[in-house]
Amino acid sequence: MSITVERNMKQWLLDTIKPDEFAEKDLKKNGILFEALARPDQIQSVAREFLAQRYFLESLTAVDFAECLELVYHFNRWDGCRRVCVKVLVPKEGGVPGNGAWHAPTLSSIFKSANWFEREIHEMFGIVFDGHPHLKRLLLPESSTIFPLLKSFKGEPKGSDVAQSLKLIEEDAKEFRVQEAQSLTKKDKDYYLNLGPQHPSTHGVLRVLLHLSGERVLDGEPIIGYSHRHHEKMMEIQTYFGCWPNMGRLDYVGAMSYNMGYALLAEKALGLVPPPRVEHIRVLMTELNRISSHLLWMGTFLLDLGAFTPFFYCFDDREQILDILEMATGERLTYDYFRFGGVDHDIPQEFAPAIKAFIPGFRKRLADYDKLIRRNIIFEKRTKGLGVLTKESALSYGVTGPSLRAAGVAYDLRRDEPYSLYPELDFNIPTATDSDVYSRYWVRFREMEESLKIISQLVDKIPAGETKLARVPKNFPKGEYYSACESARGLFGMHLVSDGSLNPYRFKLRTPSFSNLNSIIDMLPGCLISDVVAVLGSIDIVLPEIDR
């Protein structure tokens, strides 16, 4: 079925668009089926066609070249890996960034996820998307004047500019306060409320600007960028090996999945085959980390609902997992353990017995949680039918992970784009149908059970052998690579442009929470303030992963 769709799509592209460049790619190496170069005026019709074929916009980024900027669109489908790449060139005519000379058409009217992607490109590269409804800075303060991901950006000059930019930020804040005061004195009954950046239940430094009437939300807009740490620019000056610590700090709650993603990217590109012992260790680690991530989510989510005690129980279980992971990696949180074609060092003797001792106790705990939480009537009343995300909306926003599976789409990269040991393992992909807060809870809860199942399948069968490859190249061959894996929050994709040198030319991180958070714009209207907190909690966001 999907193969015909894909063949039709290719044919359609070749016939209708007549791309200047077209190349078949190796899914196993480059992570995409084919790439095509469209003209800027064609990209909207291309996107419409992709949407009609039920593709979602997985990632949208730009690459800065000497003569032009290249917009890279990755489209993907929910049934297996059908990732295709369409590119558009934006010529660098008319001089400098910021004067609005570089234009491209917007996709924000077709894919809702394009809204944020394009805003990010706008602020990082200075491209103006014609027809974009809300083209403002996304991650940096509104008053910034820099376009950091351009190659012509060499850092701000030392001295007054930094103080200047800080002053500008302060002005932004002042201006906001004035607007807020004005909104209070208005005669209308509606007003604006800032939830965050410092708020107990925004899980970090997210700001949600709520437009309220009484306690009822008319609309809400997440404002992000308060923990923007320039990972992407930073990785451009680091060696490939030096990028490992960044992987641990992007999504610090589920860092192992990010380790896995980066290892996969390299192994696909370089054609490395890790030894079986490594694969076993990796899957064990990733799944343990997935459980610990879901536990942290569960604790904080229930804290948002006003139940304090589950937080402590979840952290108690989480600490036991961290003990096991620490035993092998030496770290509690920001793991930096995987290597290209291996892991950093072998696991200790006690590793497998510790996991085996952990499993039965945790099974019992899971049963307790189910009894205490899911069957609590207040919990049920607070979560059922709340924050419904339709399938159409999920497709348009490119929502992935448990939030998508709660909408009844069994899209899980461990199944649909199998990597590592997952094809051989026996596990289910839990789905729910209602797509509300309750379903999201229920899906994540059962995912913990499934992860536990995977762990118990593997823990007895860790084969002996090497944990590293003897020779691993230090750099990637020239080219473009894309790789994705299933993190605890959804599809984590990495798009690498390598110029053959020791450090990446462009490293785009497609993080799941970014698109998932974007989708709450559709979920918020009509909620009460209490519900806002529940909805925010239910999509499981990690802010530094969103802001990068």
Binding site: F65, L140, G155, A163, K233, I237, E319, R332
Partner: protein, 200 residues
Amino acid sequence: MEINQDPHYLNTQTPSPDMVRFFKVEDVFNMARANSLWPLTFGLACCAIELMAGGAARFDMDRFGFGVFRPSPRQSDLMIVAGTISRKMVPCIKTLYDQMPSPKYVIALGGCATAGGPFKYPGQYGILEGIDKIIPVNVYIPGCPPRPEALIAGILELQKQIKEGRTQGVMSPAAVNDSQDARPAEYKNAMSRAEFRKQV
């Protein structure tokens, strides 16, 4: 941003320098303050998770009386700056600090809050390299992220300082202007797309 280098701003111990002080009473107050540090519920990045772990079941900061996390800055005594300070967040942190009532204390948790951590490199554009550029810090805790034990040790150190009455905060001698790494950036130059395509 205007940074207040006035010594009263740095001295977080007494509400006002002009206040009449009774030294024995001050000692009693210091004992009480040391034993009842209420942190602000406030996390920036990775370290915030370890902060949560420090408050959770195994480490239980509440044993020492540090477990009352207050969401409102008006009711907290201790600001634990846990994580990377992005420039967009700087005015918010400054506001939060100014909203806290004296006496107030600041702990810089982890490498980022101390000096920029792993995100400090020549040419960086997004972060403030150390919270002590804008507010006075009482205790620095190293680590990336520090373990909850380190956090508890840091708070106990702060407790000792308060009991001894030496709670003058430290501000970085480098002004915000000098906050950036002085070395030149090593960013790459753009390559030609045509050549790149040819070779791929």
